[in-house]
């Protein structure tokens, strides 16, 4: 059963992404409201993939990616950034610190499901 951690401060987007992820067979969705909340969830639950926004309070998505990719226990977890920042330099920055993929909002649900499925090899 793939376990997907959705890190998003906006309840609307969190619900929408979770909704989409629940369409992946047997997927379990864990929700976090910011980077710190995500780290707490990571320490207590098995996570196969992280979907994170960039602009979040307390700890943003880029900091979270950096911490995850520099942690021996979590570094192999694929991370997909979902953000309103659509500029090329934003994308490059996120990929440079270790994000596995980058999607600009508004997202296409099919595209997201396809990407997640390919990264967790469902």
């Amino acid at each position: 059963m793939p376990s997907i951690l959705v890190v998003e401060d906006s309840p609307t987007m969190r619900q929408l992404i979770s909704f989409a992820m629940k369409r992946i067979p047997n997927a379990k969705v864990i929700e976090a409201t910011d980077g710190v909340d995500a780290l707490k969830k990571l320490s207590s639950e098995k996570v196969d993939l992280i979907l994170a926004d960039i602009n979040m309070p307390v700890m943003d998505g880029l900091k979270l990616v950096s911490l995850v990719k520099n942690n021996q226990s979590y570094k192999d977890i694929p991370v997909i950034i979902i953000t309103t920042e659509g500029a090329r330099e934003d994308r490059e920055r996120a990929l440079a610190i270790g994000a596995n993929a980058y999607l600009a909002k508004p997202i296409q649900t099919q595209e997201l499901i396809k990407l997640v499925t390919s990264l967790i090899s469902v």
């Binding site: 309840p11 929408l16 989409a20 309103t84 600009a104 909002k105 508004p106 649900t109």
Partner: protein
């Protein structure tokens, strides 16, 4: 010693008989050969029609198999066409499903609270995340002055969004007519200072307009509007309006309730003095 004439005669007779026997045997052998040949001929004649019959049957079988192959090929072609049709229908259903999910989430969130500021925040989230707007404002009609007053803005300071009046300018026209406005050219963006958005959605409760959402520019990656966007605009026009209206009423009634409760508290306290 001379042989007796009787014996010689008998020998000759025997030889004669023997020769005749030899000739008769040869004759029989020839006849036998002829009969064998004839039998072979007759056997061949009997075999030939049997082979022809087999060939005819085989040809018939080949023809029927060929027909079966053609029918199967045709069926396969039809199934393949149906398959393609199903695949494209599946994609369509998926798109509709996703659109419905977006609309459901947006509507669910809009009606999830009676807090006015929270409702405004949810509308902002929907317009940013689901539609892909970068600069926009929500304006509400002040029923006393007929002004259309900006109550929140995203991407620009609230003070930079000018007030509008019902019937005046683009925003005012949308508020009066109650019809959404979409600029023909959206890539260049609108003009905030002049109050000229690229998209202006009336917030309506039935035919009563309570405000507008004015979008001045879209996120760089957003190239145009899809069908889902128009559905979201329609949803916002109705549901955002009722959510704002309900939240405002609730806030007002809460305020009144607090005032009345305070007043009652005062009345209760008076006799004690």
């Amino acid at each position: 010693m001379e042989a007796e004439p009787g014996i010689t005669k008998k020998v000759d007779e025997f030889l004669e008989i023997f020769k005749k026997g030899e000739e008769f045997t040869k004759e029989l052998l020839r006849e036998n050969e002829k009969l064998r040949f004839r039998i072979a001929q007759l056997e061949g004649a009997v075999q030939k029609p049997a082979d022809e019959e087999k060939i005819r049957l085989y040809e018939e079988r080949i023809r029927s198999l060929q027909e079966e192959i053609n029918a199967v090929t045709e069926r396969y072609r039809k199934v393949e066409e149906e398959n393609k049709d199903f695949a494209s229908k599946y994609v369509e259903v998926e798109e509709i499903n996703n659109a419905l999910a977006n609309l459901y989430v947006a509507s669910y969130q809009l009606h999830s609270t009676l807090d006015f500021d929270e409702v405004l925040r949810i509308i902002i989230e929907i317009v940013i995340n689901l539609i892909g707007a970068e600069i926009f404002a929500i304006l509400l009609i002040d029923e006393k002055t007929n002004d259309i007053v900006p109550v929140t803005a995203e991407g620009i300071p609230l003070e930079s969004v000018p007030k509008a009046r019902i019937g005046e300018g683009l925003i005012g026209s949308v508020a009066r007519e109650g019809e959404s406005y979409f600029a023909a050219e959206i890539s260049r963006g609108g003009d905030v200072a002049k109050g000229e958005p690229i998209v202006c959605i009336p917030l309506k409760i039935k035919e009563h307009v309570i405000g507008t959402i004015a979008i001045f520019s879209l996120l760089t990656q957003k190239e145009g509007f899809t069908n889902v966007d128009y559905e979201l605009f329609n949803l916002l026009a109705g549901h955002a309006a009722t959510a704002i209206f309900s939240a405002r009423l609730y806030t007002q009634s809460e305020r009144k309730l607090t005032t009345i409760q305070s007043f009652l508290e005062l009345l209760k306290e008076k006799p004690k003095r």
